[in-house]
């Protein structure tokens, strides 16, 4: 679950300094930060640059190279639509369209209220129950175009509760 990114510096510092000051640990640092925040905050990249004694521009280059890293905050609910071969044939593109129509986000984007973000993955390894959608850790099988709307509604309700 994404944590609040207030007072980031104090929060990120221990993650980064847990590793020796060496270039080869940069990816590991990034993975740990991403795991905690679901994205790589700018402060974290700067901190990694200082810690590993590597120019900030090179850290940024690495962070933008790997698809596993996100530079923009993810929503509380990260929707991952499988777009592997089986899911693609079973209509994952329709699901992505439905999500866009309903939430107004494309893959890689986050809704303005930070409730949802969308990404596509190449295969979730569950082709038998295609098309598959994961919301955070929950797997939704054989999702239909109306089914995806129900899923969004369910989480939207939860998201609302959290705010209250």
């Amino acid at each position: 679950m994404a944590e609040d990114v207030s007072n980031t510096e104090d929060m990120i510092s221990p993650i980064v300094t847990a590793y020796p000051r060496e270039k080869r640990y940069i990816l590991a640092m990034m993975q740990d930060v991403q795991k905690k925040y679901n994205y790589l905050p700018k402060e974290a990249l700067k901190m990694i640059a200082t810690h590993a004694e590597v120019p900030f521009s090179q850290i940024y280059s690495m962070a933008t190279f790997y698809k596993a890293f996100s530079l923009i905050p993810k929503g509380r609910y990260n929707i991952r639509v499988c777009d592997g071969t089986a899911c693609h044939i079973k209509g994952s593109a329709v699901l992505i369209d439905q999500i866009y129509n309903n939430l107004g986000i494309k893959p890689g984007e986050t809704t303005e209220d930070k409730a949802f973000s969308l990404e596509t993955v190449n295969c979730l390894g569950a082709c038998a129950i295609a098309p598959v959608v994961m919301v955070n850790d929950a797997v939704h099988a054989k999702v239909t175009s109306s089914g995806i709307l129900k899923i969004i509604e369910k989480y939207r309700g939860d998201a609302g509760d959290e705010d209250e």
Binding site: K42, P55, S57, I59, Y60, T64, F65
Partner: protein, 245 residues
């Protein structure tokens, strides 16, 4: 040791690249991503040549291929010309705005195809020379970011980089003139950062950024002529020599 390039015997040193050896022998091999200041990158692949080693024949990038034994190099064969033509065609699709690439496109007799073209004013061929130059200057303000078709040279977050000195080494080395530098009213704008230019104490011409001069001073190098522009510095040095005569 000796190797054969285009039927000529060429003296070479063990481990040097084919490109270096060929250049010294006055044999021209086309390049785009190569600059003598840096080691070969093998990025643009324009310097591909044919290498014959015993009974083996191979096409290699001459800028990164180290000579370690008896080889026979041919810098132009129908296959290599075809490869280069292909590369130029693809570079043209990437950077249709570059005059250099446009000229090469004509020179190599490329023909248009249905591949999608980049923005008409795009000039960058992603050769990475600017990144190397910036690194060499000690700033590393820019780098290649993203990947695949989104790849580009930029500062982190496209913001004005703290470490950028505004020296313009990146624009200087760029083979396709892709880096925008605006100079007017005593200011230089590069990579979204605005610099105040310092005037030459002798001729009054703006010649460097304040950051540049501060950087040089901080390096502890000789700064006795640092407030002079390049041509005035030369003049001052010449005068000094005259004084001795």
């Amino acid at each position: 040791m000796k190797i054969m390039i285009d039927g000529r015997d060429v003296d070479v040193e063990y481990g040097e690249t084919i490109l270096t050896a060929a250049k010294r022998a006055g044999i021209k091999i086309p390049t785009l991503c190569h600059n003598e200041a840096f080691e070969g990158q093998g990025r643009c692949r324009l310097c591909m040549v044919e290498v014959e080693k015993g009974s083996m024949k191979n096409t290699v990038a001459s800028c990164t291929y180290p000579i370690t034994g008896e080889i026979k190099v041919t810098t132009s064969t129908p296959l290599i010309e075809k490869t280069r033509k292909n590369i130029i065609m693809l570079l043209y699709k990437q950077a249709p705005g570059s005059q250099l690439i446009q000229d090469m496109y004509k020179e190599y007799g490329c023909v248009d195809n249905s591949l999608e073209e980049n923005n008409a004013d795009e000039r960058c061929i992603l050769c990475n020379l600017c990144v190397l130059a910036c690194q060499e200057m000690g700033s590393s303000a820019i780098s290649l970011i993203m990947r695949g078709t989104d790849k580009q040279v930029a500062t982190p977050y496209n913001e004005a980089a703290e470490v950028c000195l505004g020296c313009g080494a990146c624009a200087e080395i760029c083979p396709t003139n892709a880096i925008k530098v605006i100079e007017k009213d005593g200011q230089r704008i590069i990579w979204n950062k605005v610099f105040n230019l310092v005037n030459c104490q002798r001729c009054g011409k703006p010649f460097a950024t304040r950051e540049q001069l501060e950087y040089i001073a901080a390096q502890g190098k000789d700064i006795s002529t640092q407030n002079l522009c390049e041509s005035c510095r030369r003049k001052s040095a010449a005068e000094k020599i005259q004084g001795f005569m």
